[in-house]
């Protein structure tokens, strides 16, 4: 099989974000890497169905998301390990985000329903428009908007951000005081 060098480059360029999306969905780096690998294999096997000039990342995210969903139905989160599982394997935390805040956010994200989590990440982190996210998830734009809203509301509850007076340093302080950290 021979792959157009430009296509190969655009696939490779999308991998870091694709992989971050996979980790967000799986909550586990090893499983995420398997998912990315399977996605790449499928993408290349059906590269003829990719229309040159269209959005390569969106195409790859669509394949990965569908794979995750079909696989998920079979395995139903047999390994549910939202906290300890993969934080340690990630690169060093950026200084502006404390470890406590990172873990707390990760745990909250893991509690969202799949459809809300994927919508929020696609729009809020992966950089897709609502229209692109709707295309990736195979639903209406309005559905994506409502999922994103519900995800934000739920996160605000889980993170204790509902009242503005609650926010800022309190989040971290409270997590420390209540011993939310794993140690």
């Amino acid at each position: 099989m021979s792959l157009d060098p430009q296509l190969r480059e655009s696939i490779l360029a999308a991998v870091p974000s694709l992989r971050a999306f996979a980790i967000s969905l799986c909550g586990n780096v090893d499983r995420a890497d398997d998912l990315v690998q399977e996605t790449l294999l499928r993408a290349i096997a059906s590269i003829d169905s990719f229309e040159p000039g269209t959005n390569m990342p969106a195409w790859l995210f669509t394949i990965l998301r569908n794979l995750f969903r079909s696989e998920y139905r079979k395995r139903r989160r047999e390994v549910e390990d939202p906290d300890g599982g993969y934080a340690a394997t990630l690169k060093a935390q950026p200084e502006q985000t404390s470890h406590v805040e990172f873990v707390e956010f990760q745990n909250a994200l893991a509690k969202l329903p799949d459809d809300q989590r994927e919508a929020l990440i696609l729009v809020g982190a992966s950089g897709f428009s609502y229209e692109e996210a709707a295309h990736i998830c195979g639903c209406a734009v309005g559905t994506i908007k409502s999922r994103v809203n519900r995800a934000r509301n739920r996160l605000a509850q889980l993170l204790g951000l509902e009242s503005p007076s609650d926010f800022g340093p309190d989040l971290t302080t409270r997590a420390v005081l209540t011993g939310n950290d794993q140690s």
């Binding site: 967000s24 690998q37 690169k91 994200l109 509301n153 951000l161």
Partner: protein, 61 residues
């Protein structure tokens, strides 16, 4: 202490969040995601290289 109501309907989990809270969530989400971004692992670069070879196998030797 006097802040605008953070929700239109005053019902938890349903109505629109305040701007500041949305901004805070957005910022945490991006920080979380950016933290997951790493250079493409070698296994994927290698995979694409292998698949790109005529016949689908390495032909370096």
């Amino acid at each position: 202490m006097d802040v605008r109501p953070t929700s239109k309907r005053g019902k938890r989990g349903q109505a629109a969040l305040g701007r500041e809270i949305q901004a805070k969530i957005g910022q945490q989400l991006r920080a979380y995601y950016d933290n997951l971004i790493e250079p493409t692992p070698e296994r994927f670069t290698e995979l694409l290289r292998r698949l790109d070879t005529p016949g689908g196998k390495e032909s370096s030797e």
